[in-house]
């Protein structure tokens, strides 16, 4: 639900009791005013009747009595002479029903006679007033709901425009583009603040990104150079003919370690580069071609381990990804399959419109589907593995909007790449 719709709803919800209260209060105020004015009217009329009676003007008195709003009767004596107001229900001959009336009982004394005067006035309008009020309030409520709707529409279109523009800019922002985003200017101070903080935040992100990138590169440089020195010294040592076998063994171990260290360094660097999205999808890549290249690359391994390769590739698949990364991804998956399949085992490769499935015959049980993608996860019996291959593969899949999954099925380790 939009923020504006929500606030409007609250306004409306809140305005119902407020309007109701206001209606009730004004209803009672008006009713009491009406009552006062009704009583005054009856009082005036009484004075008029009194005047007529005093003047013995029977014609005027007759007119008043005939109007049905007064009753005048002769009485012999009267106990009290005070005027008494009361509410009563009388049969209305015009409407043919009982209706509420305001009644004024009074005694008028002329020189000769004493009259009992009853003056009444219909109060039916109170109820009309009530229904009037009720409908009035309802109309106000509906009108305000409508007004809210209209206001919302325009407000969200105009007033909130900078906000949506900011959101749009943020959506399109990618650190790896290394381009400073332009946020819209606004006269509204809140949006101005938002724009400014977004601007400084993205700027910080960009500088951080640059320095991180610089750091990875520098770290690589700094690590590779001493590694290169070590490697070169080892190569030179190997050339010496004065070394005994035992010493050569030591150098050999040194050589292996340096190799491993340099592979580790390169892999970590690759990972951080992928994570920093320093590789961007650039061209349309034929996945078929990459898979074939990968077969060629590992042809020796297939032969040596006497692994049967089963290919179920019937269609051409083209992906829009970075070529180098895609190669690494496929190579890593195939290498993983080769490493973990039994001698004389089989590897099945299946390529469909949205999936590349690489399965290999299992040597052990099912693997933990989350653990295997973690960095430096190794099965205990393989010292050559750095435990980074699958982690790199998954990272590549992720940044390219693909999904890499593992499952164990029919004694096969199955890796599925969805794109």
């Amino acid at each position: 639900m939009k923020l504006l719709t929500k606030t409007s709803l609250y306004y409306l919800l809140f305005s119902i009791p407020v309007l109701l209260l206001a209606g009730i209060v004004s209803y009672f105020i008006i009713i009491s005013e009406l009552r006062v004015s009704n009583d005054e009217l009856l009082q005036n009329r009484l004075a008029q009747v009194e005047r007529y009676l005093q003047a013995n003007d029977s014609v005027s008195v007759g007119i008043i009595v005939n109007s049905g709003e007064a009753k005048i009767t002769l009485v012999s004596n009267s106990a009290s002479a005070s005027n008494v107001f009361s509410d009563t229900s009388l049969y209305d001959t015009k409407e043919n029903e009982f209706a509420p009336f305001r009644l004024l009982n009074a005694v008028v004394k002329t020189k000769t006679k004493i009259y009992s005067v009853q003056l009444f006035r219909s109060t039916i309008e109170y109820q009309e007033l009530f229904t009037g009020f009720f409908f009035g309030l309802l109309i106000i409520l509906l009108l305000s709901a409508f007004a809210f709707f209209i206001i919302n529409y325009f407000v969200s279109r105009n007033l909130w425009k900078p906000f949506f523009q900011i959101v749009e800019v943020l959506k399109r922002f990618r650190v790896s583009d290394e381009k400073k985003p332009r946020f819209p200017e606004s006269s509204v101070s809140e949006f101005k603040q938002l724009s400014e903080s977004m601007e400084s935040m993205t700027e910080k992100l960009l500088t951080d990104f640059r320095s991180q990138k610089q750091f990875t590169e520098n770290a690589s440089h700094e690590m590779q150079t001493p590694l290169a020195v070590m490697q070169s010294k080892i190569d030179l040592l190997f050339q010496s003919d004065k070394l005994r076998e035992e010493e050569l063994e030591h150098i050999k171990s040194l050589d292996d370690s340096v190799k491993k260290l340099s592979r580790l360094n390169k892999s970590l660097l690759l990972l951080s580069k992928i994570e920093n999205k320093q590789y961007l999808p650039d061209v349309n890549v034929s996945l078929n071609k990459i898979v074939q290249q990968s077969f060629l690359f590992f042809a020796d391994y297939f032969e040596m381990k006497e692994i049967t390769l089963e290919q179920k590739i019937s269609i051409e698949v083209t992906l829009h990804v970075n070529v180098d990364l895609c190669e690494i991804l496929v190579n890593n998956l195939l290498q993983n399959a080769l490493r973990h399949s039994t001698k004389n085992g089989k590897i099945i490769i299946e390529l469909t419109t949205h999936e590349l499935v690489i399965s290999n015959s299992a040597t052990g049980n099912a693997l933990n589907p989350t653990e295997i993608f973690k960095r430096f996860h190794k099965d205990s019996n393989n010292s050559e593995s750095l435990g980074l291959g699958l982690s790199i593969a998954q990272q590549i899949a992720e940044v390219n909007g693909m999904e890499l999954r593992y499952k164990y099925e029919n004694n096969l380790h199955v890796f599925t790449l969805r794109f």
């Binding site: 440089h221 190569d235 050569l248 690494i328 490493r339």
Partner: protein, 226 residues
């Protein structure tokens, strides 16, 4: 061959120089940008090995200058900055090869020799080592004038050995040469053994002397001077 090595790391400079001099090359060195500029503008070299990050400047600038001066020297970038950008830029500028650090000296040696063969316009089209004759353009190998049919890997292996005759080559350097190093090494380096076994068998069949010496547990030596 006359080589120029532009590298700021002293120990690496010493190693490379030493190894390449063993091969009978004349190796001059430059440790910084200014010195490198000096050397390249004043002398001609067959091959220039250049590091990208140098004190006082960028190695790419040296390549630019060499190309601007129409130098015919082969150029190999040796860089620790294994970034694609630099590789692409360097090759675009006219460098012939790119070798990321760390590398095996034997690999560098093989690359230099391959480059020199490619750059040679006239003269020998073949490499001759005693009874072995290699025609790189056709990837053909003859022993005692009789052709030996080799697989791609066996051919690469032989060429690598011949480029590094009488040098001890560790198994890992051979593996890296044949398969590159951008994937984790698979469990065993025994593949090399099977390739070498086949190569040796094919050469011996044609009456070739057994040059390939195994140094147990370490690697191999292609011995031509006994």
């Amino acid at each position: 061959m006359k080589l120029l090595l532009i590298e700021d790391e002293l120990e690496l400079r010493k190693s490379i120089r030493h190894f390449l001099e063993l091969e009978g090359n004349i190796v001059e060195v430059a440790a910084d940008f200014a010195k490198a500029e000096d050397k390249t503008s004043g002398y001609d070299y067959d091959c220039v090995l250049v590091d990208i990050t140098l004190p006082g400047g960028n190695g790419l600038e040296i390549i630019r200058q060499l190309k601007a001066n129409k130098s015919r020297a082969g150029i190999i970038i040796i860089s620790a900055k294994n970034s694609l950008d630099d590789k692409v830029k360097g090759l675009d500028l006219g460098a012939d090869d790119y070798l990321p650090k760390p590398f095996h000296l034997s690999e560098l040696n093989a690359r230099i020799k391959a480059l020199m063969r490619r750059n040679k316009f006239a003269g020998e089209k073949t490499i001759v080592v005693n009874e072995i004759e290699i025609v790189p353009d056709e990837r053909k190998v003859l022993v005692n004038k009789k052709e030996v049919v080799l697989t791609g890997k066996e051919y690469d292996l032989l060429l690598y050995f011949i480029s590094n005759q009488n040098r001890v080559l560790s198994k890992s350097s051979v593996a890296e040469h044949l398969w590159g190093d951008h994937v984790d090494r698979l469990d065993s380096l025994d593949f090399i053994y099977s390739h070498i076994k086949n190569l040796r068998k094919k050469l011996l069949e044609k009456g070739c002397e057994d040059y390939i010496h195994t140094i147990y547990g370490i690697g191999y030596n292609f011995k031509t001077n006994t």
